[in-house]
């Protein structure tokens, strides 16, 4: 009824190629942005930010990055944890090496460094595909974690081998360190998340994205129609690495504040982000958000429900949480292999015809 193209006249090419062609979608998008920037910061407390919102925002960036590589370009990667570690350690070295430069630029530079590293580890993708590429990126994961543990230069020779982020400010407000107010940390990450999503969305529906998708769907055919696989694949690795690096830098500097590479950026992180992408929906920016929300919020929600409200023993709740989350993942993959994004798409299709579907 209200959710349809009819009556929404496009009078310029700009209008015609909008991300949200339907008016209702557009207003919903503006509303969400308004709420996220102008309403949520006033309602926050430490728990909400540190347990729910920061992980959600940061994992969303990582999932967007991985989605570009896996979902759009079809190159399976199990190195996300290692690449996030590159972002984190690059950010740490930049923060401690150039303390006068604003943290904002350090995080972007950390993304750039990760993009470079990601390209190097993406080189094998020119010769190998599928499972073999997954194994090659798995090697990147283990190598990078080993490297950051082994070479003391990366952690400034600290006795514990940990990196911890010193206090840095933006416009006089601390965004890293213990004195950070919840709303500054939230807004800082939100800016990166929204910017990443907008950039990723526009890249994926432009020429770069079409090249990636051509490579994903059939690389030989893509080559024949004039897509250079070297540039397409490596650009996917670079851009994916850029986002993943930003996520790693934020994860270390804003969210955790102190990081131990083996524990925080281990193979589990790679799988977690990959699950987010698969559950959310391969090849969808919305899916990256939905997947991150699903895997960040569900465990927190279950824990609060089982322990906080129902008063169950913590170990029982923790085990049950594994069972429920695992079970839901399997269920989702059976019922809707294209992920949460596909459910969203279907809902929109139905909504267009509602209330007269025939």
């Amino acid at each position: 009824m209200f959710y349809r193209e009819a009556g929404d006249f496009k009078t310029s090419y700009m209008d015609d190629s909008e991300t949200f062609p339907i008016r209702f979608d557009r207003y919903r998008y503006y509303f969400v942005l308004f709420a996220a920037f102008a309403v949520v910061p006033f309602l926050l407390n430490d728990y909400w930010v540190n347990a729910v919102l920061l992980p959600f925002l940061i994992y969303s960036i990582a999932a967007i990055g991985l989605n570009i590589l896996v979902g759009y370009c079809g190159q399976v990667s199990l190195g996300t944890g290692g690449f996030m570690a590159v972002g984190a350690y690059a950010c740490y070295k930049l923060m401690t090496g150039f303390p006068d430069v604003n943290i904002f630029f350090h995080i972007i530079l950390a993304g750039a460094v990760t993009a470079g590293v990601c390209v190097i580890f993406g080189l094998p993708s020119l010769r190998i595909k599928g499972f073999y590429l997954a194994v090659a990126t798995l090697a990147a994961q283990f190598f990078l974690v080993w490297l950051f543990n082994r070479v003391p230069w990366f952690y400034n020779y600290s006795a514990s081998g940990q990196i911890s982020s010193p206090e840095r400010t933006i416009f006089g407000f601390p965004v890293t360190g213990a004195e950070t107010a919840p709303w500054t940390a939230y807004l800082f990450c939100l800016v990166f998340t929204v910017a990443s999503a907008i950039i990723a969305r526009n890249l994926t529906r432009g020429m770069a994205g079409r090249k990636w998708m051509a490579i994903r769907d059939m690389d030989i055919a893509a080559e024949i129609i004039g897509v250079n696989p070297l540039r397409a694949k490596l650009s996917a690795f670079a851009i994916s690495g850029f986002f993943v690096g930003i996520a790693g830098a934020l994860f270390f500097s804003v969210y955790l504040g102190a990081v131990e590479v083996g524990e925080v950026f281990g193979i589990n992180k790679s799988f977690l982000v990959l699950f987010m992408v698969i559950i959310g929906g391969l090849g969808s920016i919305f899916g990256s958000f939905a997947g991150a929300a699903f895997l960040v919020l569900l465990p927190v929600f279950l824990k609060n429900l089982l322990v906080g409200i129902m008063g169950w023993p913590t170990d029982l709740a923790a085990h049950l949480e594994f069972i429920i989350v695992g079970g839901l993942i399997v269920l989702f993959l059976i019922v809707e292999p294209h992920g949460l994004a596909q459910l969203w798409r279907l809902a929109k299709e139905k909504l267009r015809l509602w209330p007269f579907p025939h």
């Binding site: 958000f289 929300a293 919020l297 824990k303 906080g308 913590t314």
Partner: protein, 426 residues
């Protein structure tokens, strides 16, 4: 989906409101995951001591104790979530039983003004209370542990270990890396050769490390392990027939769960401790009567008297004593985390107090001050008797090499103070 979950989480967060007129403690426990073998007995002991106080004495000075348990799985992110979830309830002191989580909490708890007690773990230089105002690690820390192990080796060898080979087998994390500096300093002093063998999380895979031990043939192996890593290491040592009496674990590598899987071949394995072993104390009669027999035991109730259960009792007891001290100082029974900190800083453990508590000769006597948040660093060596199935103390309590350690602590805490712009208080 997203919004529905958000509202549900909001409802859950609101339901867990603050409780009034109670002493709130938090147990950041881990009863799941690869470190649960250590986490379960500790969580049980910690909870049982507070249950005992509630059941027998009606709390501390008449104020009931509310223990909030939160499962961390020894995972840093979940630990942060647990900290944020529980701190609003007025938790008096955090004891996370994880060096990684302690490192996370040091800046956060300092900003929130909540004390952290990392008993025998965490950041060693937190002993310097003039820099680390809110962090305590009494009665002993990792560097004490490293020194005690070396002193024990010195004792066995009549005071001369020049040219001996010592290997450190450690969990490749902030926890396992802690003793390296001290062992390096001590090797300069005593002239032994130190080799380092890191084991990655979670620690089931140690074949290459033990192959190296077979090749290098160190005279002694010191272990900084936790969770499943301990069991695997002791089994591997048995497999290569490494003499167990030359294999010394830190206090976190010396529980029954660690040696039992290796059976008889674990006989004579040594581990350090900073409190006594066994259940032959008057307090355990009360625990049996008021907690176990009354069906109020935490967990399965089968851990009483094990090494880690005792350690948790000791941790809970020290927290309760600090509460009493805080109540005396401030003349009120409704204490807040900053008052608790004052109580911890003025804590004095004497033998009379320990006897009155029903734990005679259970732990060292010490007193805490503004400069010293770490006690005096006394420890002893225990040895596993596979036939009897128990750890036995084989030495008296002796002090670590304070000359070496104090200097390192000054150096490390001064570095932390400079990095974070902290003015030493005293």
């Amino acid at each position: 989906m997203k919004y529905k979950l958000l509202t549900a989480v909001a409802a859950a967060a609101m339901a867990a409101g603050p409780a009034l007129a109670e002493l709130t403690f938090s147990s950041l426990s881990y009863r799941t995951g690869p470190y649960a073998a250590g986490g379960i007995p500790f969580a049980d002991g910690y909870a049982d001591y507070f249950t005992l106080l509630n059941e027998r004495d009606g709390g501390i000075n008449g104020v009931k104790i509310n223990l909030v348990e939160c499962e961390t799985g020894y995972n840093t992110e979940k630990g942060v979530e647990c900290y944020e979830a529980t701190k609003g309830q007025g938790v008096l002191v955090y004891q996370p039983l994880s060096t990684g989580i302690t490192y996370q909490l040091i800046p956060k708890a300092t900003a929130d003004k909540i004390p952290v007690h990392s008993m025998g773990y965490g950041r060693t230089s937190a002993k310097n209370g003039s820099v680390f105002e809110w962090v305590f690690n009494y009665p002993a820390n990792y560097w004490d542990g490293a020194s005690i192990a070396i002193t024990h080796i010195l004792d066995i060898n009549g005071g001369d270990i020049n040219g001996k080979k010592v290997a450190l087998l450690y969990h490749n994390s902030a926890y396992g890396k802690e003793p390296i500096r001290t062992l390096e300093e001590l090797s300069k002093k005593h002239g032994y050769e130190l080799s380092l063998l890191p084991v990655d999380h979670p620690g089931q895979e140690q074949k290459s490390q033990w192959l190296q031990i077979r090749q290098q043939r160190p005279d002694y192996v010191i272990m900084w392990g936790w969770g499943v890593m301990n069991q695997v290491a002791i089994q591997e040592a048995a497999n290569i027939r490494f003499p167990m009496e030359n294999f010394i674990g830190i206090w976190w590598s010396g529980s029954e769960n660690d040696v039992r899987p290796a059976g008889d071949s674990a006989h004579n394995y040594k581990a350090l401790t900073f409190h006594n072993v066994g259940s032959d104390y008057p307090l355990f009669d009360d625990i049996g009567k008021y907690v176990i027999d009354a069906g109020k035991a935490a967990g399965a109730g089968d851990q009483v008297g094990t090494v880690l259960y005792n350690r948790a009792l000791y941790a809970a007891m020290l927290a309760a004593e600090a509460v009493k001290t805080a109540m005396e100082i401030h003349g009120t029974t409704e204490i807040t985390p900053p008052m608790m900190r004052d109580g911890m800083e003025a804590l004095e453990m004497t033998e009379e107090k320990m006897i009155a508590l029903g734990l005679p000769n259970f732990g060292p006597t010490f007193s805490i001050s503004c400069q010293n948040h770490g006690g005096y660093g006394f420890g002893a060596v225990t040895q596993w008797d596979a036939e009897a199935g128990e750890f036995k103390l084989i030495t008296d309590y002796f002090q670590s090499d304070q000359d070496v350690i104090q200097e390192l602590i000054e150096e490390d805490s001064a570095k932390y103070a400079a990095e974070n712009g902290i003015e030493p208080r005293c």
